[in-house]
């Protein structure tokens, strides 16, 4: 085509879409004109360079995505592992608690028999201390000794907390003379308190996936806690 734009004509040659006659004319022109040959070579080089640059840029972006995914994966794995561990411990605890319930029932029955016996023998003796003595502990709840509290895993994404996982774990509130504001947190959450009841205050645990720290929320108060087999004082809110 006589009035065809030079750029488009060279493109059609490079893309091999010229008719045989056009191609023959084009190649004759190249053979006769070194400057035109250089133009064709230059256009091909520009096309290749632009495509290579764009291809590399696309790959760089793809690699950056893979890398981000890879870096995010260990955090998820940690949380999943923690959750798996919790589940295993919970199942273990559940078994332990079942045994524990039997023990508590037996203890309660023994105590009841003892009290009745003592009451029968010492009918006219007033009980001066109807509370707790020594290291005696009573696990309280309106109906059950053990109840369940939410364990929520959070991660900060774009400066906002995003819920990663929601579970529940066993918890119990313990009345003790020795410990009045303490906790123990391993397979189960034990809260040592004089007056707290499950219904009185909302209790939950938040796990920060980024810092791997736990916070115990009781009502409006929040306490930094950690997994421990020892009875620890609840830190100041």
């Amino acid at each position: 085509m006589e009035n065809e734009d030079p750029t488009e004509r060279i493109d059609r040659y490079l893309d091999e879409t010229l008719t045989p006659a056009e191609k023959a004319a084009f190649e004759s022109e190249m053979a006769a004109d070194a400057d035109f040959r250089l133009e064709v070579e230059a256009q091909e080089a520009v096309r290749n360079l632009i495509s290579n640059q764009a291809e590399k840029e696309d790959l760089r972006q793809l690699f950056a995505t893979f890398h981000s995914e890879m870096e995010a994966a260990p955090a998820r794995k940690d949380a999943e592992q923690d959750n798996e561990d919790l589940l295993k411990r919970k199942n273990g605890i559940q078994r332990k608690l079942n045994w524990g319930n039997w023990s508590y029932t037996a203890i309660a029955a023994s105590v009841a028999i003892l009290i009745i016996g003592v009451w029968t023998v010492w009918n006219n003796i007033n009980q001066t201390d109807n509370g707790l003595t020594g290291n005696q502990e009573i696990r309280v709840d309106e109906r059950n000794e053990v109840f369940r509290v939410p364990l929520l895993s959070w991660k900060t994404v774009d400066f906002k907390p995003v819920l990663q996982d929601k579970q529940t774990i066993d918890a119990t509130i313990i009345r003790s003379k020795a410990y009045r504001s303490h906790y123990r947190f391993n397979d189960i959450l034990e809260i040592y308190s004089d007056k707290l009841t499950e219904k009185q205050q909302k209790i939950s645990i938040a796990y920060d996936v980024d810092t791997r720290q736990y916070r115990l929320h009781i009502g409006k108060s929040s306490y930094a806690i950690r997994k421990t087999d020892e009875i620890m004082p609840l830190p100041l809110p």
Binding site: T7, L38, S51, A54, K56, L59, M70
Partner: protein, 188 residues
């Protein structure tokens, strides 16, 4: 396992060659740990490891796409490790440092030397910046993304197909003129 086609990772190589991003992603994630270990053991940081890894991964992927690894006799991961290893040695040398550890038998794998292309490419790359970012975007949309003039007009805000086509031709005219001068200097 060596297939009759010649490469133990023929399927993986073909998947990457055909643009399978999932395969490429798995390959990327599976092999970074070894390079991170190599770089950290040899005077590098996490960032150095990522940089060198992405460079050698780029090289390997481009070789795959160019069909140069179709007959690769070693595992692709071994080949990648070798490319990264030599690339990291080069960087250490540039810093005047030396490799402490990281050799293993796998390094006997031969590495295909990267073809740096025509010697005038750096000069061409430099002069092409003169056509401006808008022209580069337009030419990229047409020659790399293979968009139609209608799509380009819509994407880049031209009034119609003809305006987009006219602008594309002007951009290429300018780029070709600059490229021709680079070639002239190269051949003279």
């Amino acid at each position: 396992m060596i297939t009759e086609i010649g490469s133990p990772d023929f399927a993986l190589i073909q998947a990457i060659k055909n643009g399978n991003e999932k395969a490429l992603g798995l390959f990327y994630k599976d092999n970074f740990g070894k390079i991170l270990h190599l770089v950290l053991k040899n005077s590098g940081s996490d960032d150095d490891a990522r940089d060198v890894y992405q460079d050698c991964m780029m090289e390997v992927v481009l070789q795959i796409r160019g069909g140069r690894l179709d007959q690769l006799s070693s595992r692709l991961s071994t080949y990648l490790y070798s490319v990264c290893y030599y690339k990291w040695i080069d960087r250490l040398r540039q810093k005047g440092k030396f490799m402490q550890s990281g050799f293993d038998d796998d390094l006997e794998t031969a590495v295909i030397e990267e073809d740096d292309g025509a010697p005038y490419l750096p000069a061409l790359e430099k002069v092409l910046t003169q056509i401006g970012e808008k022209c580069m975007t337009l030419l990229k949309a047409f020659y790399y993304e293979k968009l139609t003039m209608t799509q380009i007009a819509s994407k880049l805000g031209f009034a119609d197909d003809n305006s987009a086509k006219s602008q594309k031709n002007k951009c290429m005219d300018k780029a070709r003129f600059l490229g021709k001068n680079v070639l002239k200097q190269h051949y003279s």
